[in-house]
């Protein structure tokens, strides 16, 4: 099945971590900020989001653990974070695989049901 190909680039546990990390709206907002701005930091995210500094740091740690973000080379004393290269590719690949598999399955479902009429 075409759906079984999605684990090729990344282990299933890792992919599960990526999805789990992306399942939280706050963490998605952080990813969006990174897509928009390139790098970010705990103080900057704390100013943008309605959560505490501690919560920001915790969410960043989750994103880091899932391999989605990494520390950017230091500029000054502030620790900055950026998206890890290719981090979102495997999640996107899973979706593309799953949608293409369902495209075929639904076409077969349609054929099977309509043939029996």
């Amino acid at each position: 099945m075409s759906i079984s190909t999605h684990g090729a680039a990344r282990g299933h546990d890792e992919l599960g971590q990526v999805f789990a990390a992306l399942a939280d709206p706050t963490r998605r907002a952080m990813i969006e900020a990174l897509l928009r701005e390139g790098t970010t930091s705990v103080p900057r995210l704390t100013a943008e989001l309605p959560i505490t500094r501690q919560a920001v740091a915790k969410h960043l740690a989750t994103l880091d653990h899932a391999g989605l973000v990494e520390r950017a080379p230091a500029s000054g004393r502030e620790v900055r974070y950026r998206l890890r290269d290719g981090a979102l590719v495997s999640a996107g690949a899973w979706l593309a695989d799953a949608e293409s598999a369902w495209e075929s399955r639904l076409a077969r479902l349609k054929g099977a049901v309509e043939r029996r009429r």
Partner: protein, 112 residues
């Protein structure tokens, strides 16, 4: 759009593949092809994955969990809607956070 029921809203997953198709047949005919093993054999072609049914709302909504040795568990939801030309089937496959899907599997085992 069909309204989101409570137990669906409780799912935190946002990584979801979504596809739909229109079939010239009644919702009941489509339902039979989705809910029965014999019906699924005619089109699903995924024998390596085990199906555990979570929600059965005949003939408008069906949810199953898909598990397989080499696959992460996924949740597959079908919405079956009557339309003038026949029936629209909307399928959403999502890969929820692991603890939730494993929890669902253990519930399914207890219920079985």
């Amino acid at each position: 759009m069909a309204e989101r029921t409570e137990e669906r809203a409780a799912q935190p997953s946002e990584a979801a593949a979504r596809r739909e198709v229109e079939i010239e047949a009644s919702p009941e005919e489509v339902w039979e092809a989705l809910v029965t093993e014999g019906g699924r054999e005619r089109w699903l072609q995924a024998p390596e994955r085990e199906i555990q049914i979570e929600v059965v709302q005949e003939p408008s909504r069906l949810v199953w969990w898909w598990t397989g040795e080499d696959e992460p568990p996924t949740r597959v939801e079908f919405e079956i809607v009557s339309v003038p030309a026949g029936t629209r089937v909307i399928v959403t496959e999502s890969e929820p956070a692991f603890p939730i899907s494993l929890l669902a599997q253990s519930f399914a085992r207890v219920a079985a």
